[in-house]
C-alpha cells in the first residue's frame, strides 16, 4: 500500500512540474508581467523554504539564520558583477561555497543548543551578520551594490524587458531543490534526519552520528539557500544587507514553511502558493491607500489561517485523508465485529 502511495505522490509531482513548465504559455500569464512576477516569487520562496525545510523541518532545528546564507549567495553574485565586472556564475559558486563553510562554522557550536536556545542563537547570528555587512567597506556596507546596465542573456543571467527566462530560472531552481529533497526523503539520509528530529538520543543509540547528520543537513540547506539568494539579487539588480540579510527575510522562509506544513515535501510549495500571492496582492490592492491597510490585512489573514489551522495546510490535507481513512476503518471495524 505504501508503495502505491509513493507512486501516486510522485506522479503528482511530475504532473506539477509539467504544468509549471507550461504556465508561461497561458496567454493571460504571458501578457501580464505582474502575474509572472508572482509566479517567480512563488517558485523562489518555495525553493528557499524547501531549503530551510531540510534543516528546520526534516531535521527539526528551527533556524532563523537562513537569511545569512541567502545573503551570502546574493553578495556572491553581486560582487562578481558590480565589483569585478564579470559574469555572476563564479561569484555564485564561490558565494555558495562560502555560505556552506559559514553554515558549518556557525552551526557546529550552535548545535549544542536545544530548542528555543538554538532559535535565538540563530536570531543573534543574523543580527550580527547584518550589522557587520552594514559596515563592511569591501562590500559597500550600507550603500549596497547596484547593478550597472548589463548585456541581457543567460550569460549574465539578467533580463530587463521580459520575465519568462527568470521564470524558467526559478523553475530550474525549484525542480533541483525539490528533486534533491525528494531524493533525500526517500533515502537513508532523510530517515536519519527525521530520527534526529524526533529524538537525538535514540538516533545515537541506533548508530546515527547525529552531530554529523545535522551539520550535513545544515551545509546542504545553506548551499541551496545561497543559490536562491543569488537568483534573488539577479532578479532585483541590487543587493544590500536589509534586503537579503535581515530577520524579516528569515522569518518569511520560516512562515512559508509553517503555513504549508513543517517537515512535509509539499508544505513549502503550498505555503508559498498561499503566502506570496497574499502578500503581493494585498499590497497591490490596498498598499496604495497608504496607512498600512494591506499589512493589517496580511497580518490578520495569517492569524486567521493559524487560528483555524494550526498545523498548516498539510495538516488540513492530512485531516481530510484521515477523514476518509476513518470511514474506511469504521467499515472494517464493523466487519470485525460481525465476525
Amino acid at each position: 500500500m505504501i508503495k502505491e502511495d509513493r507512486k501516486k505522490q510522485d506522479l503528482f509531482w511530475y504532473v506539477l512540474v509539467a504544468i509549471l513548465i507550461l504556465i508561461p504559455f497561458i496567454p493571460r500569464v504571458a501578457a501580464n508581467s505582474f502575474t509572472q512576477h508572482v509566479f517567480i516569487l512563488i517558485l523562489l520562496y518555495a525553493s528557499m523554504s524547501q531549503a530551510w525545510n531540510i534543516i528546520g523541518g526534516y531535521c527539526g532545528q528551527v533556524s532563523f539564520g537562513h537569511s545569512v546564507f541567502f545573503g551570502i549567495g546574493a553578495y556572491g553574485a553581486g560582487m562578481a558583477i558590480v565589483k569585478y565586472g564579470i559574469v555572476p556564475w563564479p561569484g555564485i559558486v564561490i558565494g555558495s561555497l562560502i555560505a556552506t563553510v559559514v553554515a558549518v562554522a556557525i552551526s557546529y557550536p550552535c548545535f549544542k543548543l536545544k530548542g528555543h536556545y538554538f532559535a535565538i542563537a540563530t536570531f543573534a547570528i543574523v543580527e550580527i551578520f547584518n550589522r557587520l555587512f552594514m559596515v563592511w567597506y569591501w562590500l559597500n556596507g550600507a550603500l549596497g551594490l547596484d547593478y550597472p546596465m548589463l548585456k541581457v542573456g543567460w550569460k549574465n543571467f539578467v533580463w530587463y524587458k521580459t520575465k519568462i527566462p527568470y521564470y524558467y530560472g526559478a523553475l530550474i531552481l525549484f525542480v533541483i531543490i525539490f528533486g534533491i529533497v525528494r531524493f533525500i526523503e526517500r533515502n537513508r539520509f532523510g530517515y536519519y534526519l527525521k530520527a534526529v528530529r524526533e529524538d537525538q538520543e535514540t538516533a545515537e543509540a541506533v548508530g546515527i552520528n547525529s552531530a554529523f547528520i545535522k551539520l550535513a543537513a545544515m551545509a546542504l540547506s545553506a548551499f541551496l539557500a545561497s543559490f536562491c539568494g543569488a537568483f534573488f539579487v539577479q532578479y532585483n539588480f541590487r543587493v544590500e544587507p536589509p534586503m537579503v540579510m535581515s530577520l524579516h527575510v528569515s522569518m518569511l522562509f520560516v512562515l512559508v514553511t509553517i503555513l504549508g506544513g513543517v517537515g512535509t515535501f509539499f508544505g513549502p510549495l503550498l505555503g508559498a502558493m498561499i503566502l506570496i500571492p497574499l502578500q503581493e496582492y494585498t499590497r497591490v490592492y490596498w498598499g496604495g491607500l497608504g496607512s498600512g491597510v494591506d499589512l493589517i490585512l496580511f497580518g490578520f489573514l495569517i492569524i486567521l489561517i493559524m487560528v483555524r489551522q494550526p498545523k498548516g495546510i498539510m495538516g488540513l490535507i492530512n485531516e481530510f485523508q484521515n477523514y476518509r481513512n476513518r470511514k474506511r476503518r469504521r467499515i472494517i471495524s464493523t466487519e470485525a465485529e460481525i465476525n
Binding site: A121, I258, L259, G292, L295, I302, K311, G315
Partner: protein, 284 residues
C-alpha cells in the same frame, strides 16, 4: 567616564529587564514565542502618550492605565489567538504572533499616523541628578526603579505564593496541574496578561524620554528575546541579570569599540554565554 557609561548602561538594562520579564513569563510557562511583544510595548507607549497629550496625565500616573491596557491586550491575545494555536506545533503560535505584530504595528500606523511623538513638559522631563561627575537622568532612573520593583514583585509571586506555584506547576506539566484542580486555562490567561502588564508598565513610563512611533517596538523585542534566552527560559532573575548585562555591554562596547558594533557585541555576548552554559545563566 567609565562609571557614567556603565550607569547609563545599567539604567537601559533595567528597562530591558522589565520588557524581558514579561516575555520570559509567557515563554517559560507556555512555550510560546510572543513576537508581538514589542508591539505591546508600542501600544502601551501610545496609551501613555495619549493620556499625557489629551488629559495632561503624567507618565508617572498613566503607567497604571497602560499596564491595565496591555494586561487586557494580553488576555485578549490569548483568548482569540494563542488558545487556538496551542493544538498545533509550537511554531504555529509563533506564526500567529508574527501576524499579530504586523497587524498591531500597522493599525497603529493607520490610526495614529507614522508621526513620532514624545511627551514634553512632564514632571521628570529633563531633570537630572548630579553625583559628582556622574549625571543621572531622572526619567531613566525612575523607570529603572519601577522595573526593579515590578520584576521583584513578579518574582515574589512566582516563588512564594500558591498562585506562583500553580503557574510553575502548569509550566512543568499541564495535565498534572489540571489534576490538582488548577484551571490551567485561567493560568495561561493570567500569564499572558501578566506578560502584557510588565511590558505595559514599561511602555507607560518610556514616553517621558523616548519618542513613540509604530516601529518603536522592533529592537526592544529583539533584545528582550536575547535577554530571556540568555537568562534561561522562565527564569525571572535570569532575565533581570541578562538584561543588566546586555545594557552594560551595549553601553561599554558602544563607547570603547564603536557605536555601530554595540549590538554585535550584545548578540556576540549571548552566543558566548550559551556556548558555556547551553541553558542560559539560570537555565534548568
Amino acid at each position: 567616564m567609565f562609571f557614567q557609561i556603565a550607569i547609563d548602561g545599567l539604567l537601559t538594562g533595567m528597562v530591558y529587564a522589565l520588557v524581558a520579564s514579561g516575555l520570559s513569563l509567557i515563554w517559560g510557562v507556555m512555550d510560546v514565542l510572543n513576537f508581538a511583544h514589542g508591539e505591546f510595548l508600542m501600544l502601551g507607549m501610545y496609551v501613555s502618550y495619549w493620556l499625557g497629550f489629551l488629559m495632561n496625565l503624567d507618565p508617572l500616573i498613566s503607567w497604571i492605565a497602560s499596564g491595565v491596557f496591555c494586561f487586557l491586550l494580553g488576555v485578549l491575545t490569548y483568548k482569540l489567538i494563542i488558545q487556538h494555536t496551542l493544538s498545533g506545533p509550537s511554531l504555529s503560535a509563533l506564526l500567529a504572533t508574527f501576524g499579530l505584530s504586523m497587524m498591531l504595528k500597522n493599525i497603529a500606523l493607520n490610526r495614529f499616523s507614522p508621526n513620532f511623538r514624545i511627551l514634553t513638559g512632564t514632571l521628570l522631563d529633563g531633570k537630572r541628578i548630579f553625583l559628582g561627575n556622574i549625571v543621572l537622568p531622572l526619567p531613566q532612573l525612575i523607570t529603572s526603579i519601577f522595573a526593579l520593583v515590578v520584576v521583584f514583585i513578579i518574582y515574589y509571586i512566582i516563588k512564594r505564593t500558591r498562585l506562583g506555584w500553580a503557574i510553575q506547576a502548569t509550566a512543568m506539566d499541564k495535565s498534572a496541574a489540571e489534576l490538582m484542580g488548577i484551571n490551567t486555562e485561567k493560568i495561561f490567561l493570567l500569564v499572558f496578561g501578566l506578560g502584557g502588564l510588565c511590558v505595559g508598565i514599561a511602555g507607560g513610563l518610556l514616553p517621558s524620554y523616548l519618542a513613540v512611533h509604530p516601529e518603536v517596538g522592533g529592537l526592544f523585542s529583539l533584545i528582550a528575546f536575547v535577554c530571556v534566552a540568555m537568562g534561561g527560559f522562565g527564569s525571572i532573575p535570569g532575565a533581570l541579570l541578562a538584561a543588566l548585562l546586555i545594557g552594560l555591554v551595549e553601553a561599554l562596547s558602544g563607547f570603547y569599540i564603536a557605536p555601530v558594533f554595540k549590538y554585535v557585541a550584545v548578540f556576540g555576548l549571548y552566543l558566548l554565554i550559551v556556548m558555556v552554559r547551553p541553558k542560559g545563566l539560570f537555565g534548568w
